[in-house]
């Protein structure tokens, strides 16, 4: 069964070369490693210093949640609330420094549409490159390549280096590749958007089909519309801590309250 379970996970970044100035950096017994918070901002996770002077930023601060098949989770929160860090943790980029995270199912990250493309390679070559890197087998890619070509409507341009493409054409290609495959767990930082108005309605229909095929979707976003259209659950983060997890409308309401309280 496709599932994500997080139990009290932490992601803490050590800051090197940022030793707390008032304290000398010498070897200290473990008892002195107790941490205290030295700074917080309106945005970002808590910054803590051990008595040894080592500075740590808590980007994810003790999160627990469970997701099951059919969950479409939207993550909201201020800049630096830990949205991207949480996504990267789910992808497997960051291993939690503490706590347990278990993920059942293959994770497909949907990263920015243009990264990992080779400007001098043709459209077709880039389809192979990107899909291979995303972990799909030759067989699967071969099955989808016609579909990608057709949907992108790039025709003969697919045999040309992509540096000859306009930015809109690049979006078409990236979008066509990204939405062709069947992910079990789909992780997105901001909803992928697509090109001109004519392309947009087709793109939305295609995105919808892909999300329907997906077991679990997690997307970080700032857009209220995106949340209401695509998600059935929402998570509100603040300073790396979970503020709310539940229905979309309530989460948005809590987000508004939070913003008001802090300003």
């Amino acid at each position: 069964m496709i599932a994500i379970d997080a139990q009290d996970i932490y992601v803490e970044f050590p800051l090197y070369g940022q030793r707390h100035r008032s304290l000398r950096n010498f070897i200290v017994p473990k008892a002195l490693r107790a941490r205290r918070t030295v700074a917080t901002g309106a945005v970002g996770g808590a910054i803590e210093a051990e008595l040894s002077g080592k500075v740590v930023i808590k980007a994810i601060d003790g999160l627990s949640f469970s997701l099951r098949e059919g969950d479409r989770l939207g993550i909201i929160g201020h800049n630096g609330a830990g949205k991207t860090t949480l996504l990267r943790t789910l992808i497997g980029v960051y291993e939690p420094t503490r706590g347990r995270l278990s993920i059942n199912g293959a994770v497909t990250p949907m990263f920015s549409l243009s990264d990992g493309m080779d400007q001098d390679a043709t459209g077709y070559e880039n389809i192979w490159l990107r899909s291979t890197v995303l972990g799909f087998s030759r067989g699967v890619i071969a099955e989808h390549i016609d579909d990608i070509a057709e949907f992108s409507e790039l025709g003969g341009y697919l045999n040309m280096p992509i540096r000859t493409y306009s930015s809109g054409m690049l979006v078409r290609l990236g979008f066509a590749i990204a939405t062709a495959l069947d992910p079990q767990i789909l992780i997105m930082d901001e909803m992928i958007g697509a090109g001109d108005a004519k392309f947009l309605s087709r793109a939305e229909a295609r995105l919808k089909r892909m999300i329907e095929r997906t077991g679990i979707m997690v997307v970080a976003t700032h857009g209220t519309n995106i949340l209401k259209t695509w998600c059935n659950k929402a998570m509100l983060l603040s300073h790396g801590k979970l503020v709310f997890l539940g229905g979309v409308d309530e989460a948005l309401q809590r987000y508004e309250e939070l913003s008001r309280a802090e300003s």
Partner: protein, 266 residues
């Protein structure tokens, strides 16, 4: 010393095995890396070969007159010396940048980290294969075929295994300490003179032991000797196997311990 947990060891093992299975990915990335450099140039990757060829021709002349050797004997020796040195130093130098150079990828997608190290090893192996064209030309000019060529096919994987821990180890440390790649590059320009690439160890007389203590000497011999029609010596084999064992014994626990930290350091 190293706080290692069983699960870290297991994950590191899985990571390396999964990276090896992902050969399509690193094969593709390695080719892309080479092609990108020479895209839209007429000779493409053969520019690598061309510049190496010129270097070898010049060094061949210098070395044969310097050491009073016959040109046709010095040339294949120097040629193979350069070709394999280029591969070995490339693997270690590029390899040290495996994670730092791929940070954009590492932070966005979930490929096992070993993939990026395999990529660097493979791109340098591909470059070496291109450069071997120079040797093929020499083989036809001087008619130096031998059955021992077949041994080369066995020695190459062995040398790659005994070398591969170095780029992995350096890549991990380089992520945390960004001065390391520069140190590696400098060390290799020193090591160039401590490895019998253009000269022969015998020519050092009583000081030959210096190069004998350099594992790279033995790796080079294992690759070069079969192509010069000689059997590699048992001493060379022992050194290379020992390097592999010692290197991996250090590197694997190190990787297991710090693999999870690499993304944090990027």
């Amino acid at each position: 010393m190293l706080d290692l947990t069983l699960s870290q060891v297991f994950k590191a093992k899985t990571d390396i095995a999964a990276s090896a299975r992902k050969w399509r990915v690193w094969h593709m990335l390695a080719w892309q890396e080479i092609r990108q450099r020479y895209r839209r140039s007429t000779f493409g990757p053969f520019w690598l070969t061309l510049s190496m060829g010129v270097q070898i021709a010049v060094m061949g002349v210098v070395v044969s007159s310097l050491f009073g050797q016959e040109f046709h004997k010095a040339l294949p020796y120097v040629a193979l010396g350069f070709i394999f040195w280029n591969m070995i130093s490339g693997i270690v130098n590029d390899g040290a940048m495996s994670f730092v150079g791929a940070n954009n990828w590492i932070l966005q997608i979930n490929l096992p980290l070993g993939t990026y190290v395999f990529q660097k090893i493979w791109s340098n192996t591909i470059a070496m294969a291109h450069n071997l064209a120079i040797f093929v030309v020499l083989v036809f000019i001087y008619r130096i075929y031998s059955f021992s060529f077949l041994l080369f096919v066995l020695m190459l994987p062995l040398v790659l295994v005994s070398l591969a821990w170095a780029p992995l180890l350096l890549a991990i440390v380089s992520t945390r300490f960004r001065d390391l790649p520069a140190i590696v590059t400098n060390s290799f320009s020193l090591l160039f003179w401590l490895t019998p690439i253009v000269y022969r160890p015998e020519q050092l007389g009583p000081r030959a032991f210096i190069v004998e203590l350099n594992p790279l000497t033995h790796m080079l011999a294992l690759l070069r000797d079969p192509l010069l029609g000689q059997m590699p010596s048992v001493v060379n084999l022992e050194w290379v196997c020992a390097t592999a064992i010692v290197g991996w014994t250090i590197t694997f626990p190190f990787y297991a311990r710090f693999r999870g930290r690499i993304a944090y350091w990027l």
